[in-house]
Symmetry: C2
């Protein structure tokens, strides 16, 4: 196995160890020593892969975002060749929520990172960039769905995008057992059903020329 791949794998294993520490004990007392212990390596070995707590957290967060993307991609593949934009948004939204073990690990990592961002400008910039990219992707989907007639044309794509992103607020309500996962899915489905209720039926196969520019 090439050294580069091995290096990457070790970093990912450390990131997963960090997630476990965050999931079990929070980010409050997170130290490189604690992560090294959880990963079953020495502090010196850990420092070979990450020179600082910040670099380690940063990688663990990027890796969490990457793993969430992979789960979304997998969910999208299961939708088949020409998925309905409603179903695409549903996969994106539900994989952001802590509705199963993998999503819970990445969601908690993300929440910890956001809190870290509030008093660390480097983390803030990285977190902002990541979420802004995700937001742009959702806005693109919303605009395309509008152009294709799936969403009423009088809706404002910016506002619709912002409201969809705000629904990640279910995270706290799930984590604190205020709302059952099933009720969250019911609410998400109801919300998407309403967004995709058009007064005219959607065109079956939108022509390329009719798509938004």
């Amino acid at each position: 196995m090439p050294k580069q791949v091995d290096h990457r794998e070790r970093r990912e294993a450390i990131a997963r160890a960090l997630w476990r520490v965050v999931e079990q004990h929070g980010v409050a007392h997170l130290t490189m020593r604690e992560v090294a212990q959880e990963a079953g390596i020495s502090l010196g070995q850990l420092q070979h892969y990450f020179t600082s707590r910040e670099a380690m957290l940063s990688f663990a967060m990027d890796f969490a975002a990457e793993q969430t993307s992979l789960r979304v991609d997998q969910g999208l593949q299961e939708l088949g060749d020409q998925p309905h934009p409603r179903d695409v948004l549903r996969v994106m939204l539900t994989e952001m929520l802590p509705l199963h073990a993998d999503a819970r690990a990445t969601s908690r990592m993300s929440a910890a990172y956001v809190l870290e961002a509030l008093h660390d400008s480097t983390v803030h910039a990285r977190a902002r960039e990541g979420i802004t990219q995700g937001r742009a992707l959702v806005e693109q989907l919303v605009r395309q769905a509008m152009a294709d007639g799936y969403i009423q044309p009088d809706r404002d794509p910016v506002t619709e995008t912002n409201l969809l992103l705000a629904l990640t607020g279910f995270t706290t309500l799930i984590e604190l057992d205020v709302i059952e996962p099933q009720d969250v899915l019911t609410a998400v489905d109801e919300y998407l059903d309403r967004l995709f209720t058009t007064s005219v039926p959607p065109r079956p196969a939108p022509a390329a020329t009719e798509q938004s520019t």
Copy 2:
């Protein structure tokens, strides 16, 4: 001044100092020593008011929730005698979001507490209780608004309540400067306008007998 009041005032001053520490440095390294320093008292004096970090955090969180309630009450008073339920929900929702300095302090305290709750069952129980009570209040408002004809009768009050609460997800998007405060207010207003669009005009003054039981 009675000793009881003085004791309460000292605890509130300490809680505000704790908020400042959380706002500036996060909950990550929060220690009683650090809070004592911020409050300008000795660690021994702090320990006279709070016997543990957990007790101190707990009080600071309750006090944050209380201050948020006070801001909501003040906002409701400004609405006059018979406020429209849409405006009541708008005040409740926007005062939860970090849209001004006071709300930011309590919102960050709340976010830190939620993260703490993920690995502390006592904090989890308290946080869950607080949010569950808030949720019940919103559901009561939604049910009353439905009974009074302000919200379409085919809506499910549980789902509508859950969706309203999920909109607190704007918090992260505001904190990370992903969405401008003005765009958040636009989205919240659009959401509430849609919720309160009834096919029949609302009855001007609902009779007591017609209200939900």
